[in-house]
Amino acid sequence: MDNGRFELRLTGSGGQGLILASIIVAEAAIAEGKVVTQSQVYGAEARGGTTKAELIISDRHIAYPKVTDPDLVAALTNEGLKQYGGGISRKTVVVIDSSTMALPESLNEEACKTLLALPIRNATVEKLGSELGLNVVLLGIIQGLTEVVSVEALRTAVSLHVKKQYVDLNMRALDLGIEMVRESATTGIRI
């Protein structure tokens, strides 16, 4: 978090819950006294297709509200990374879902700070039984990688968005994400 400012971009396809994920982080950040701006791209008026969600977290007033210099870019689809990979620099941590994405040709360790390929979808299905919770696993990954918000704040924010009976599942999803980061750090499955 350069000078108290953190820029996050999530990209993937409609329906993966990325916008909600960015909102949850935003709420967690607000709870911790931060300022945020959250935005997303809308495609043509029809549904589906590629989406992007953006979040800026800062200690102070945020003037320009869109991400221009991302600290973290997480992509769940190749198309997403292609369309919304702009602005990735040596300061950017890039996370891709290795279960569904090919290694992006345009990107390499040199072009960013870290390039992390995690089997997000597979791990989710395997550990949680279905894809449900994929976006919360991603939240865990973001937390694990950046600690831009505390785990507690994130837990609270997540639980505000899910029905009672799913709280547990989501907490496990969050833990799974955090765990994946921890593991990757030890096992070093960076690309």
């Binding site: 043509a44 008026e45 029809a46 549904r47 589906g48």
Partner: protein, 262 residues
């Protein structure tokens, strides 16, 4: 279906998985083909909405107009060049909400155009709000507690306005749909077909109608053929929608375009 009438270079279409619009589009292309129309002389006109994107997938002249305004544009085209077959593809909102006045006036004038309503009971394009055809009690983004406004019955509305051909069909019943589209297009004078389609993304999801496959197959349960319905009591028909031909008045003379003014 002749693929040459489809702009296949523009596929896949922009519609959601399981959206009913493609099924109506296919039926339209099929009917045009079976009627043996000169495809150089067909103009397909639409308003704004998911359904109104359909014309751009046809390999005919096509005009994507403004929300609700397909019918006056179609009227202008038809009167300017009566040789053309002018077909309006429109949504339930496009035709009956913002475009309602043009609809009834075209019916009144009996201008020789065919209006095909892709009726998915909501505004798909803007995110699933209620339309004037949304059934009572249905949930939409603007009727979170269930719709309390009564819907139009498009058949009654356009018949009341003076339409000379009105039919209703559903996308499950592809043969029935094709037959009525053909009859409507062939009809000299104003014709309308209310096609019950589906929007799994919004209307289906909000009202727990199941997935796209379930939605389409379920039409077997809640759409009733007019011939069958005629023998049933109102109670037996509660919650059902009747499909079939409701108005079919042959044109009086050779002239079908309002002529005095022309």
């Amino acid at each position: 279906m002749k693929m040459s009438n489809l702009r296949s270079e523009r596929l896949p279409n922009i519609w959601c998985p399981g959206c009913g619009n493609g099924i109506v589009l296919r039926s339209l292309l099929e009917s045009v083909e079976q009627l043996g129309l000169d495809t150089d002389k067909i103009v397909v006109v639409s308003g704004i909405g998911c359904s109104s994107r359909a014309p751009a997938y046809t390999n005919f002249d096509n005009v994507h107009t403004l929300h609700g305004r397909a019918i006056p544009v179609a009227t202008g085209i038809k009167l300017a060049n009566p040789d053309l077959t002018v077909i309006v593809l429109t949504g339930d909102g496009d035709s009956s909400a913002i475009g309602g006045n043009h609809l009834i006036h075209a019916a009144r004038r009996d201008v020789d155009i065919t209006v095909i309503v892709f009726n998915n009971f909501n505004y798909g394009m803007t995110g699933g709000q209620a339309s004037p055809l949304t059934p009572v009690a249905s949930v939409t983004t603007t009727t979170p507690g269930g719709n309390t406004d009564r819907p139009f019955d498009l058949v009654n509305l356009t018949a009341g306005a003076g339409a000379t051909y009105v039919a209703r069909t559903g996308i499950y019943f592809t043969k029935h749909m094709l037959d009525h589209l053909k009859k409507a297009i062939a009809h000299r004078g104003f014709s309308l077909v209310d096609v019950i389609a589906q929007c799994p993304t919004y209307f289906g999801r909000f009202n727990r109608k199941g997935d796209a496959g379930q939605m389409i197959v379920s039409q077997k349960d809640w759409l009733v053929l007019k011939s069958v319905a005629d023998k049933k009591s109102p109670q037996e028909l509660a919650g059902k929608i009747v499909i079939g031909e409701f108005v079919n008045i042959p044109p009086p003379g050779p002239a079908v375009v309002p002529e005095g003014q022309v």
